[in-house]
Amino acid sequence: MIRNFSTAINHLILAIGLLVMIIPVWIIFASSTHTSLFINTNGLQFFLGDNFLENYSRVLYKKAGFFNEITALKMFLNSFIMATGIATLSVVTSLMAAYALVYFQIKYASFFFWLIFITLLVPLELRIMPSYLVMSKLGLVNSYIGLILPISASAIATFFFRQFYKSIPEELLEAAKLDGTGSWKFFIDFLIPLSKTMIAAVFIFMFVFGYNQYLWPLIMTTTEQYWTVVMGLKTMYGSISDRFAFVIMSMVPPIIIIVFLQRWFIQGIFQNK
């Protein structure tokens, strides 16, 4: 009896927590299925309307932005290119750098260690203006490379891989060395297959991180052709139901990724902290 009662309390508190999370998103979603006229006269809605398909397809294909030069579809494409680029580049460079740091005797090893990890103290937000000036000197404003490279300049993924490598038993390398395995073969045939879960986790983490960038694309794009979803949200004009629909669509990709790949994500990132 007491046991049942306390379980009921547990579920009750969790349900309240769930509602706090779900209701705001639900209200925006429900409102996005009504016409703008209806919203403007009746305010936010809790129940679904009839205009779901009409509103969402209009938002996807209609040209929007300051100068009506870009569709939401193109913004999604840009966001995906940016996020995939950032995730791929971070995983590849960090995997390699962490390998060198953990598995090699390096002259001035601690110098390289600090050169990489001290950058964790300087997030992009702190060097935004000079970064912009550097990019414009290099002629990379309004380009995918410009959107991708500075965000990939992060040691956070290297940190994750380094932690992971350190947890691999010493015996693996000892055995491999006895067999005469070289550093390249060890990396490609042993370490990469072992790191699969970690690679997936870091890729997911960096993809969502890249997709969710707001400030950097805001600064790096002066033509609408390179707008991304998250930065376009604030600037995109349209009727109120268009904006609701776009807000909902913008959350879908990262939510799907995190929810469906959470097992890998939680294993890799959360249990390796």
Binding site: N10, G17, M21, I28, A97, Y132, A153, A155, S183
Partner: protein, 292 residues
């Protein structure tokens, strides 16, 4: 580092090179530039600049709007850490207390973590707008809420917007921390101490210390940097500039006001703050917590 390692003449540099190259061009170059900006004074027309010593730093500390941003950032990170930490812990303890459905709750509560702060801000905007806002009219009826004019109300607005999604991250980490505590420890404590409440604060919570301190750092970093997207899509600093965080102010001064010297000095002050937090984390916290 490993006891057994590879020795090679060049391979290690090959592995290091791609990351170092990207870091040098896209991170170190701008950082060097930041330091140069911070110690030079540019004339108003951008024609020339000269070495200014610590003038930019003296300037920001004599600037009341900088101190306002400083105060707000401290309050903001403290309140967000407190709210998201306690809510996350409360929910995690409930989820850990039930026998069935732990994973369902994990899935149902993890997704807000994935949403960009800027998207959360745009959403919050609708709930707090004078025209459509449900929360605006609710609070307005209760105590005459008006964030356009009242500083305290604007605080409430950005705190709610800033805390919402971060509860999710706190929940996930606390739940992982709770699940990592060994069953035998809990079982033994049940024999010694009948009160659930007392057992939680004397046994479970101390064992959660590593997670708690880790989350404090995560939440502070979030409140300092990631909330940029929230401020820029909600109050933009309104009513006056009372809800500008340090990062937001540095951006406005540098990018909109084109005052590179001041923005550079502000960035360096922020780096110092992050440095202090990091040292604190390593020296103080790592040494004083009991890991199980």
């Amino acid at each position: 580092m490993k006891k057994v390692q590879f020795t090679s003449k060049y391979s290690q540099y090959f592995f290091l090179a791609p990351q170092l190259l990207i870091l040098l061009i896209f991170l170190y170059w701008p950082i060097v530039q930041t330091f140069r900006d911070a110690f030079t004074m540019q004339d108003a027309f951008g024609f020339g600049s000269q070495f200014a010593g610590f003038d930019n730093f003296l300037f920001i500390f004599s600037d009341p709007s900088y101190l306002t941003a400083f105060k707000f950032t401290l309050i903001y990170s403290f309140v967000i850490t407190l709210i998201t930490g306690s809510m996350g812990l409360l929910l995690a303890v409930q989820a850990n207390g039930i026998m069935h459905g732990k994973n369902a709750y994990k899935t149902l509560l993890i997704w807000p973590y994935a949403i960009a702060p800027a998207v959360v801000g745009v959403m919050a905007n609708y709930f707090f707008s004078e025209r459509y806002g449900l929360l605006y009219s609710l609070f307005n009826n209760l105590w005459g809420f008006n964030w356009y004019e009242d500083v305290f109300d604007a605080y409430i607005y950005v705190i709610i917007a800033g805390s919402w999604k971060q509860i999710s991250a706190n929940f996930i980490f606390f739940l992982a921390g709770l699940q990592a505590i060994q069953k035998t420890v809990i079982e033994a404590s049940i024999i010694d101490c009948k009160s659930n409440m007392r057992r939680f604060w004397t046994i479970t919570f101390p064992l959660l210390m590593p997670t708690t301190f880790f989350l404090i750092i995560i939440n502070i970093t979030y409140a300092f940097f990631d909330t940029f997207g929230i401020i820029d899509t909600t109050t933009i600093g309104a009513p006056g500039s009372e809800t500008k965080t340090l990062v937001y102010k540095a951006y406005i001064d540098g990018f909109r006001g084109l005052d590179l010297g001041s923005a550079g000095a502000q960035s360096i002050m922020m780096m110092l703050i992050v440095l202090v937090i990091t040292i604190f984390q390593f020296r103080y916290i790592e040494g004083k917590i009991h890991y199980n």
